[in-house]
Amino acid sequence: MTKARTMVTKYEDDLRLFRRSRWYQVGILLLLVAYLLVPTVASEFQIDVLNRVGYFAIGAIGLNLLTGYTGQVSLGHAFFVGVGAYVAAYFGTQHGWPLLAWLPMAALLGGLIGAFIGPFALRLRGQYLAIITLGLLFVGEHVFDNWESVTGGGAGTQVAAPLKIGPLDFGNLKLGSTVYSRNQGLFFLIWAVVAIVLLLARNLVRTRPGRALQAVRDRDLAAEIIGVSQARYKISAFAVSSMLAAMAGGFYAVIQQYVSPTEFGGQVGLFLSIQFIAIIIVGGVGTLFGSVLGAFVVGALPRVIENLSTNVDLPFVSGDKGGDPGFLTVFSLNQMLFGLLIVAFLLFEPRGLAAVWFRIKAYFKSWPFSY
């Protein structure tokens, strides 16, 4: 009897990074084609949105490792995004470090600060942790605001960090005779990093550390008893998630070309942190590719609605194309949709878009005997 290529019979098969199935390979190929094709066919606006989606995805993968896999809720994610953004501003712009130096520096510094704060924060569990990390946002804003020699103070600072790797300058990309715009170059850079980060994160969760993280999530005391040091894994998860947040922050600074303290602290920072949490809820808590799916929804929706409102007359909304007075502004509509999105997903699809995808897959896998 021949067994199907996809059948898992050995432990090594179960651990494979890339599955053997034909569909999987076709899917990867399609993604690769999309990666090369999308920037050339999409409009500047669409590429800009996609770049932001990419930055959200990197940060959300980090948060998913912490919240989805280790079960620790952090509202301080925006602080680490801020750290990364300021590394891009300070080392990249002020000191002119090349991309391959300032980006790792962002990750390193984010990871170090995470590892330093982790032991304090992780003395607390669950809801206490959520609130103490909220404190991080306010203290962080204060530091960004007042450490003027590094951060440029409350007025913010310009970011023009170099984007060059060897002969490839992503800020001003030329391949042969084709010249790409800055946004197109950024798209190639950011989404390549998304792919690398996704691969690394997947590698992490499929091996011992990943299983340890999930053991800590499911029952930290029980994990401790079977020999998984919960302190060590909680702190590592915190550090890794901060690292990815800081990398995301670096890209945010580069997309925005300008950073200011209020974006990462206080109320706006809280909103940013909540956006990241919303991404993993919408995408799927505890599934890595869910973070990317969620980033598409949460990252693109507000921009798409803003764009829509300038072209279409939306009912009940003021400030859109029709210009009729409505009781909602476009901003209010966005915030409200965002709130409703979180509530609706938690109530009706708590495992997020990833669960929808799994259901669709299971339906076709067991076809024609699906039910």
Binding site: T67, G71, V73, F120, R123, L124, R125, G126, Q127, Y128, A130, I131, I132, L134, G135, F138, V139, E141, H142, V143, D145, N146, W147, R219, L221, A222, I225, Q267, L270, I274, I277, A278, I281, F327, L328, T329, S332, L333, Q335, M336, F338, G339, L340, L341, I342, V343, L346, L347, P350
Partner: protein, 297 residues
């Protein structure tokens, strides 16, 4: 010395407002184990409701406050029934996120109805002040302290002596055992949210009193009340009030006396509550009066 007293009194006044907000958090946490991030939305909603009744409809201020509290209670109960009830048995993370979602919706409802301008609540206190020795106190602040004290007393009596209060404590301790005694946990949860909504409305009124104090920004004061509840311990009403006062006083003192310490940076007092929270949590991870979590495998 009189300067110190003056600053302390101001701190106590601000602290009693935090305390009222914090009380609302504690009621819900005690009964349902959920930290309600939408509390700021309730505060906002209550304050604007009082404005609407008192100024727009022109009813006496007492009615405005009472109706705002009733409205707050209705909103609280509705939110619990619609959004939080399905979350029973889910991880606390999910419930927190639901309340955050509710916060976003509430804030936008409030600003869509009443706009973004700063308004006058229409309270009878205005900017009146009275002098006691060297210290001058705004009348509205005196009322805030009085209302916070009254609310705490009411909570104490309610939880100690009323049947409903005892039922709520029983449910908080062990929902199943309470169920076996004929208490409906569902009703207790709804009630807790209603009470919290009413207290939040009261907090909103004290926060917005005075001329030109009512703006959507007061919803964010609820964020400053987080350190207060953490300091006191999430499930202790007395702790919430003490935490609120501690935060208020330390903030006022920092603003007055540490302003010259330039290495702390400007406006250090805005982050003082959080610094204090971190310091206390390092020593006592469950707050000053919070119940220690016992873990069993």
């Amino acid at each position: 010395m009189s300067d110190f007293l003056q600053v302390t009194v101001q701190g106590i006044a601000a602290g009693s407002k935090y305390a009222l907000v914090a009380l609302g958090f504690v009621v819900i946490f005690k009964a349902t184990g959920v930290i309600n991030f939408a509390q700021g939305g309730f505060v906002l909603f209550g304050a604007y409701l009082a404005y609407n009744v008192g100024t727009t409809w022109g009813l006496p201020f007492v009615f405005a406050v009472v109706l705002a509290m009733v409205g707050g209670a209705i909103i609280g109960a509705t939110v619990e029934r619609v959004a939080l009830r399905p979350m029973i048995g889910q991880p606390p993370f999910a419930a927190i996120m639901i309340t955050i979602g509710v916060l976003f919706v509430l804030e936008q409802i409030v600003t869509s109805i009443w706009g973004f301008d700063t308004l006058n609540l229409g309270d009878p206190w205005g900017n009146d002040r009275i002098a006691a020795g060297d210290v001058t106190i705004a009348v509205r602040n005196l009322w805030s302290v009085g209302l916070a004290g009254a609310a705490l007393l009411a909570f104490f009596l309610f939880f100690r002596y009323s049947n409903t209060g005892v039922a709520m404590r029983a449910t908080a301790l062990d929902p199943e055992a309470a169920l076996a005694q004929g208490i409906s946990p569902g009703r207790v949860y709804t009630l807790a949210w209603a009470v919290s909504g009413a207290v939040a409305a009261l907090a909103g009124v004290t926060l917005a009193s005075g001329s030109g104090q009512l703006s959507p920004g007061i919803g964010y004061v609820a964020l400053a009340a987080f350190p207060a509840i953490i300091l006191g311990g999430l499930d202790s009403p007395a702790g919430a009030v003490l935490g609120g006062l501690l935060i208020g006083v330390s903030q006022a003192l920092t603003a007055r006396y540490l302003a010259d310490w330039s290495w702390l940076g400007t406006n250090f007092h805005t982050v003082m509550p959080y610094v204090l929270m971190v310091l206390i949590l390092l020593v006592r991870p469950y707050g000053l009066f919070g119940t220690r979590e016992v873990q069993r495998v």
